[in-house]
Structures are given as C-alpha cells and as structure tokens.
C-alpha cells in the first residue's frame, strides 16, 4: 500500500539512502540528553498556542470602554490590547486555557533551557569542537528571555505595564546613550502608544523566527558533530554508543513530548497564571506590591532590589544606581556565558577535541564556579520576590532585604567551597576505587594466564 508512493518519491528524489542513514543516526541513552528536548517541545507548544492567541489579540493602545463578560471591569476605560486579553480570557471558547498554556509553556521553556545548559556546563559538553553550539545555545536563552519579556509587556494590564516601565527605566539608565536606546526600542517616553505594536511584532515574528532558525542550527550541529558520550565502556573520543533514531529514540522522544503537552494542558486548566483581570488595566500612576517579572527575569529584579542607592558622575554624565544591577550585571553575565568555553581553555590548557563528557567532580574548579553562580541566582530570585516571601512568612521586609544583601555574597562563596571540597573528595575516592580495580584485574590476569 505505502510502497507505491514511497517508490514514486524515491525514484525521483533518491531519498532512500539518506533517510536510512538518518534513521540509523545514533543517540546516546542518558536522561540528561532529554532536557534540551523538553525545551524544544515547550517551544512547539508555545508556537501552537501562540498562533491561536494571535487570532484574537489586538496590539493596540487605543482607549476603549469595556463592555464584556467580566462585570467587575464593566464601563472601565482601557487599552484595546487589554480588552482583547479579557476577551480571550472570558469570551473566546478555550481562550483562557490556551492563554494559560502559552504562559506556562514559556515558564517551563526557559526553565528547561537553563536545566539543559547546566547539564552542558557541568559535564563539559561545550569543549572543543562544540564551542560554537554553546554560543548558539546562549543566544537561544537570550532570545527566549527577550521574547518572554515582550510577551509579558504586551498584556496591557497593570503588572505588564509596570514591567514595561521598569525595562524602559533600565535602558534609560545607560549613561550617554540611554535616551537614544529607549527611543529606538520603545518608540518614545513610556507609556507611549508605539511600544505595544513594536513588541508584538518582535514577539510573534522576529524573535520566534530567530529562535526557530537557531534551533535548526543547534540541532544541525549536534547531528553533524554527533552527540557527546558519558564516560563508560567502549566510549572514546572516536566512538559513540547509544540507540538508533528510529524506532527507539523517536518513540522515547515522542513520549516525552506527549507527557509534556499533557502537563502543560493540565496546568493551563488547573492553575491560574497571570490573571490579568485581577490586575486591572495599566495606569501609570497605579502599582501593586508583589509586582514581579516572570521568574526568568527575577534575578535582575532581585539585583535591583538589593543594590544600594549609589549615583555618581563620570565626566559630567550621571551613572544612575539602576545601571549597575539592571544593565551592567545582566550584560556581564551573558558576556561571561558567551566566552566561557574560551575562558576555561585558559584555565585548563586543554585544546584537544573532547567527545567524551567529564563528570562534574573531574573539574572541581568549574563545578564549584557553576554551583556558586547558581546559588547566587537562587538568592537573587528570592530577592526579586522578597516582598511576597515576607508577606507569606510574616517576616519584616526591610530586615529580610538586609539579610539578603549579606546572603547574596555569603551563600555563593560557601556553596562554591563546599562543591569544590565534595569534588576533590569524590575524585580521590574514585581514584582509590580505580586503583583497587586495576590491582584486582592484574591479580585475575596473573591467575588466569598460566592456564
């Protein structure tokens, strides 16, 4: 039955050989290789739900009077964008489900990217010849963060408007070029009508296209260079061990996709995310406590909350306090991320291609550094949500914030030291195990040889 169309296509395009080779492509069997797939499939869900939302969302700040099903906002003046958000949430069939799935998929997407990146980092998968793919990966993370921010900003609700205003303030804080930067990005002094249409165009066309393109490049490089392998029997820098793309890997991967889709759909129906109707329409003079960005920008928010009020002038130009935690810190973070494969070469002096991964304990310094940075990010995330944490735990916010100002330095240093010591201890234990094993093997050989 399927033979005729297959022969018809193959006799014209000669795809059989290449398909056979592709289906036999080897993928290593290890759970940690699936983290990137969680991110990839989250992106698939984002695109699918995003197409649905784009049919109903209006990227306009024209002021309208709301007359819809949510009567607590009946007769309230708001932007057309916000009205369309309410329309999607209350009047479009399955609109709220899809909207919540979109937002949950975004939160999970970036979480999965970071988990995947942590795996790459701690196992040294970014070493030669895969530095370029690390750079593509960091770019993907950056684009995902940017698109998350654009999506958060186009809602037209109080929370998203406040977030847009903070992004504007951060960009404005860049000495000398701040005003120009904000003008080309936001289209004027926020709140301004130009911003939402711009961000929407970036959110649904430019950034997703770039992400798709780079995902293609990311996967092509993995295909071309083959996967890395964890250390194990028969695994060398020249040989890969695993299962074939078809059928075992494809089925495993599809199973993961369906499970993820089920979880996201379940969250979309059972757990509220970004209830825009509770926040109300954006009004530049209104605000609320507990106003946070989505978690993936919580570390920047935390840095801004903890940073002391230091303003000074360089050559007559003001460097506002917001510049350091809001702009300089994230830019430096990404600069180090981009350069890390090359920075590490200077430390390890290892310039050979490495296709076998290393265990985290085999490079104590890198592991300790990664753990320290991760710990700092966790503290900063708590700082970004400090008022919510204080409210929920009945703590005094001012005292909690002072404590966090200490912890943001102490916790990373302690975590780094502990991680280093654990690595060294582990390496020593493995070394003695290996020595015992080798001695045992030699004894066995001596016993068996004479026969």
């Amino acid at each position: 039955m399927s033979g005729f169309p297959a022969r018809f296509v193959d006799s014209r395009l000669r795809l059989a050989r290449i398909t056979r080779r592709a289906l036999n492509h080897i993928f290593p069997d290890h759970w940690s290789f699936m983290l990137g797939e969680v991110a990839l499939y989250s992106f698939v869900i984002l695109v699918e739900t995003g197409i649905f939302l784009a049919m109903f969302y209006k990227d306009s700040t024209v002021q309208v009077i709301y007359r819809g099903s949510y009567h607590a906002l009946d007769g309230v003046k708001m932007s057309a964008a916000y009205r369309s958000m309410l329309h999607i949430s209350f009047d479009v069939p399955a609109g709220l489900l899809i909207r919540q799935m979109h937002h949950w998929a975004c939160d999970i997407f970036i979480g999965a990217i970071i988990a995947h990146q942590a795996r790459i980092f701690f196992t040294g998968a970014y070493r030669k010849p895969r530095e370029l793919n690390w750079i593509v990966g960091v770019t993907l993370l950056l684009l995902a963060l940017a698109n998350g921010y654009f999506g958060y900003s186009v809602g037209g609700d109080l929370l998203s408007g406040a977030g847009m205003r903070i992004g504007y303030a951060i960009m404005l804080s860049v000495p000398v070029i701040g005003p120009w930067l904000t003008f080309i990005t936001f289209g004027g002094t926020v709140p301004v009508t130009a911003t939402i249409p711009r961000f929407y165009a970036l959110h649904i066309f430019v950034v997703p296209a770039l992400i798709s393109l780079l995902i293609g490049a990311h996967l092509w490089m993995i295909w071309w260079q083959l996967h890395t392998n964890y250390p194990g029997p028969k695994r060398t820098d020249k040989l890969i061990v695993g299962s074939r793309l078809w059928p075992s890997y494809t089925l495993k991967s599809l199973g993961l996709f369906f499970l993820l889709f089920a979880v996201v759909a379940m969250l979309g129906g059972l757990v509220q995310i970004d209830p825009v109707w509770v926040y109300g329409p954006y009004n530049p003079v209104a605000i609320l406590p507990g106003a946070q960005p989505d978690w993936y920008l919580g570390w920047v928010e935390g840095a801004m909350r903890l940073f002391p009020g230091v303003n000074f002038r360089i050559g007559g130009y003001l460097v506002p306090e917001l510049f350091w935690p809001g702009f300089f810190f994230p830019v430096m973070t990404f600069a180090v991320l981009y350069c890390w494969p090359f920075i590490e070469k200077l430390i390890s002096l290892d310039f050979r291609p490495r296709n076998v991964l290393r265990w985290p304990y085999q490079q104590p310094f890198t592991t300790a550094l990664g753990c320290a940075v991760a710990a700092m990010m966790v503290v900063l995330e708590f700082a970004g949500g400090d008022d919510v944490v204080a409210l929920a735990s009945h703590a005094r916010l001012a005292a909690f914030r002072e404590l966090l100002r200490v912890l943001v330095f102490v916790v990373p240093v302690l975590t780094g030291i502990v991680a280093y010591l654990v690595c060294v201890w582990w390496r020593r234990r493995r070394a003695s195990d290996d020595a015992a094993l080798r001695a045992g093997n030699e004894a066995v050989e001596e016993l068996t040889l004479p026969q």
Binding site: L73, D107, Q272, V278, P293, G385, A395
Partner: protein, 221 residues
C-alpha cells in the same frame, strides 16, 4: 461629651440621648467621640464606626466583643446595649454606603489602595515601618469604609474631600467582590503572582527531569 449629638437628639427621654451617654462612657475611649476611630496606642485602638448600619451586627459586637474588644454583656444592661447600638447605627454611622459601583470601586482601589494592599486585596509587605498592609479578605464593608476615613496605623486618612461617601461605598463593593471572586482558570495560588508561578514552573521542570530518567530506564520503577 461632644455637643453635636445633644443638639441633634433633642429631648431627654429620647433613646439616642441614653445611647449617646452609654457610648461616651463605654465606647468613645477606643472608638473616638464621633466614632471616628482611634489609633496610636495599639491596645486601645478601635476602628471607625461611621459606616456601621447593621444594628444586629453592632449589638452582637457589644455583647460578644470581637477581636481585641471586650464583651459588655455583664457590664451593661440589655437596654443600655440596645440604645448604644441604635446610637451607633443611626447617629454615628454617617457614611451612607449607598450607590456603590463595582467597576468604579476597582478604578479607585487601583488608584488609592492597591499600592499597599494589592489589586487582589490580599495585602502586601511594605518596606517602611516594618508594617505589612493587611489582608482585606475578612473585613466587612463597614470596616473597609471606616478604615478609609480613619486611616489606622500608618495608613493615610482619606477625608470626604479626597473620596466622597459614594466613592467609599464603591471601594467597599470592590473589596467585597475580590474577597471571594470567581476564579476561572484554576487555582489562583492566593494571588501571589509570578513568584508562585515561577515556583510551579520549576516543580514541572524537575518533574520532567524525573520523567526523562524514568523513560531512560525503560519505563521501569
């Protein structure tokens, strides 16, 4: 005794005159001579009563003594309590609490109140004074309206020149609505916002890692 009440109430046999006496003797210390509320020393702080129109509610409060308020069931006769309650609901309660408009209340709440109490009226942590803006989910309309005029603790007062009686009633309507709002789309997680959402997202990411481990083990154990 404030002269204002005597002028209004007239003759001596009037229950309001007796109610006023009881009020002045037993209630004014904590609730203020005009029922405007007293703040400052926390132990004698009493809320503003100028929106308490419900006679039964006031009578119960006098008898039972909610929260920090003492019970007057043994100190006062039934007639004393009734007169005092009547005096509160008819003379002290000067905010009519009528013609409130829900969506106008929301607009006003976002303008004047949400900066501390959040739009979800569940309170917020504030950096000054070490005081958190309280959760309003258990407050009655009368307490909400009273607090707006009274300004308990570090909360500012909002006199009639800032918010009219009708606007106060609207805000109370909004708070009452958001206390138990319809919550489409599942659990609101106490309206903690992106912090709670981020936490859930990471729970899911970690669960997906566990799922990946399970898949790699061939779906066993």
């Amino acid at each position: 005794m404030p002269a204002a009440w005597s002028q209004r109430t007239g003759n001596a046999g009037d229950p309001f005159v007796h109610g006023e006496e009881v009020f002045a003797q037993h209630c004014a210390e904590c609730h203020g001579d005009l029922g405007q509320g007293v703040s400052g020393v926390v132990s004698i702080a009493g809320p503003n009563l100028q929106a308490e129109h419900d006679l039964g509610h006031v009578l119960t409060a006098i008898e039972v003594g909610p929260s920090h308020m003492p019970s007057f069931a043994r100190t006062l006769s039934v007639q004393d309590m009734r007169d005092a309650a009547g005096f509160v609901t008819h003379k002290i309660a000067v905010i009519p609490m009528e013609d409130g408009n829900l969506s106008q209340g929301g607009e006003l709440f976002r303008m004047y109140c949400s900066a501390c109490h959040r739009t979800a009226v569940r309170g917020g942590a504030l950096v000054f004074d070490g005081v958190n803006a309280p959760d309003l989910t258990t407050k009655s309309r009368a307490l909400i309206a009273g607090a707006i005029r009274w300004g308990p603790g570090p909360m500012p007062k909002f006199p009639p020149a800032v918010l009219s009686d009708q606007q106060v009633a609207s805000i109370a309507d909004y708070v009452k609505y958001v206390q138990h709002p319809p919550s489409p789309g599942g659990s609101p997680m106490n309206w903690y916002g992106p912090v709670a959402e981020g936490f859930v997202a990471w729970v899911v990411v970690v669960s997906m890692i566990v799922v990946a481990m399970w898949i790699e083990r061939g779906g066993k154990g």
